[in-house]
Symmetry: C2
Subunit: 400 residues, 2 copies
Amino acid sequence: MAIVNGGVTAPKGYKASGIACGIKKNGQKDLAILCSDDIASAVGVFTTNVVKGHSLQLTMEHIKNKKAKAVLINSGNANACVGELGYDNAVDITKMTSTILNCTQEDILFNSTGVIGQPLKMDALNAGIPKMLSSLSSTGGNNAAEAIMTTDTVAKEVAVEIELSGQKVRIGGMAKGSGMIHPNMATMIGIISTDAVIEPELLEKVFKNAVNYTFNKISVDGDTSVCDMVVMLANGKADNSPISDESNDYQTFVEALNYVCDTLSKKIAKDGEGATKLVEIAVDGASTQEDAFMMATAIAKSPLVKTAMFGEDANWGRIITAAGYSGAKFDPNLIDIFIGNLLVCKGGVAIDFDEDVAKKILQQKEINISINLNQGTYFDRMLTCDFSYDYVKINGSYRS
Amino acid sequence: MAIVNGGVTAPKGYKASGIACGIKKNGQKDLAILCSDDIASAVGVFTTNVVKGHSLQLTMEHIKNKKAKAVLINSGNANACVGELGYDNAVDITKMTSTILNCTQEDILFNSTGVIGQPLKMDALNAGIPKMLSSLSSTGGNNAAEAIMTTDTVAKEVAVEIELSGQKVRIGGMAKGSGMIHPNMATMIGIISTDAVIEPELLEKVFKNAVNYTFNKISVDGDTSVCDMVVMLANGKADNSPISDESNDYQTFVEALNYVCDTLSKKIAKDGEGATKLVEIAVDGASTQEDAFMMATAIAKSPLVKTAMFGEDANWGRIITAAGYSGAKFDPNLIDIFIGNLLVCKGGVAIDFDEDVAKKILQQKEINISINLNQGTYFDRMLTCDFSYDYVKINGSYRS
């Protein structure tokens, strides 16, 4: 597997664009599209929030036929909680886009991210969409990645190349965070493209597995938003022999896709609002999968654990406390806790560890916290970030 | 009902003391006791955390006989996760105290609050306990309230006087917060005293109801700790006719007890670590009690809602988002949201409200957010605080 440039436009047969159309007050890019030359297979996972943005609701209908030509995103406005107008606007936008791209309305997936409760600026979008489509380019991935950002501080993209039975196949991806990131999906948008030839059913299987182990393991602040989705297009332009689920090609493709999703997920967690560190919480030895998940989640969400990471303080008491209220069943007298590779608590009892060693581990930009419950064989993990002054600063006045 | 001075020593037949014995490095008070002249009826509620402090474990055994003479608290060290030594130390401490107070070991309730994973300084306690007991005083409530503080910025106490069939009866209380406050119980300790004559079973009933609607409705950061408890002693020194559950006296007593618990709860939430505002989240019109509870809790825990309160930003999109992921069942097209008495979202749709009016409401020190789901008759509420820079500052380096 080789890392390549180009993000979502790295695979064959994709063009993208990202422009500023006037939704964001500060004049930054706010309108993006990824467009496949031909109709592609499409799969997606969407927020579990009861409240769903109007654009997202439309996309969840459009993707039912498992096909799409383009994914359109605006940032700066979530198009949520504005009543029927929001849905009507989303319909108009996909209609206009499909007319220009000469496809059906259902072939356009559309999502919006940003502030809730304000109508989309349709004037800006009506003028912006044709302009954006006229600048579609096979090197436009980076512009698109920039245009989907909200409070993100860096654009997030990655692409890889693999060989399947002698044929070169690529997978590209872009994503945006960065606050309100939490399973399932949060204010997060991820878009993955591939030129692989793969059956729609198999695509759905490998995509959902990859998302479950990567995007769904990110928690920035425990809030899940109303517009979140990860979608993937596969246009078959690589002309490889169709991937079957018993071949070596299958394994190679799965690993590459997992790498793309994992890389984007880590970029999102690391760029959590105000984050200074990426923190991975791993729980092993649980009696059930659910126990491992609940405990990793509770620790990753704990503001006290996250502020301790910011303060580079080896306060494992907060870790065991979060474990204890997580809802997971475990024997507190068997639990071991590691900060990096340093054992700080064994069998539920404090270890007299070297504070200087702990400090050095916590000064790193990437920190691993691992818990072994010594009860069973189940494992899960969560990616999160620390909680800093800047988190409060960014979120104390996001709307204004 | 009249507000009176004296805190936990306001009712007849109680003495208290609070001293610095050397557990806290900064020399502040760290050892407190409330002592009834005679053995009192005792009830308590305790943390639901799987991991429990050693002192708390002992107290949960001692209270099984529903009697106690004294409640002893040390602050600065949670006596948790130190292995068998922690439990043995707790036993030694209650043994020493009961010998001096001339009662049985089971009559002493003992709890510890502070850092996890460090053994208690037994030298300091062995010297401190006799010293503290020699300074027991019927006006010692305030000293005790100070000695149970950890990161609290103010001591928290209240007392009221009521008349039951012509007899004066008092209820006093003290509590400590302030981070890690969340149902059920958190790093929170509450101690209530009364001189009322009341049957133990009835006491248990009214106490648990009061706690459920007050202390269990506080959330500062969603973390629940390993040492938390609220206990209540009733020593019968007021000589009132025993309270029965069909009398007017009963209603008067319940209201007074609820007032004491509610006052202490609000003091805790308002003094949440780094808090600048008390925020009450009320959810009405839910289809079930569980739905109302889940939604109030999710909104009260949301870091995005709490930072918006700090920033005095009427960002109700974060409120509806938290409602949506709370797990509560509701129709997003029926939800109304109020900030103070200002309607900002009706039927799930944004209202064009006056931002200046909203700003004025959010500048207050106490903010009410209310949600009406317009689906049923169930109501619940949570008390919380905003999330400020100081929360991060306080918790980034609590241990050191």
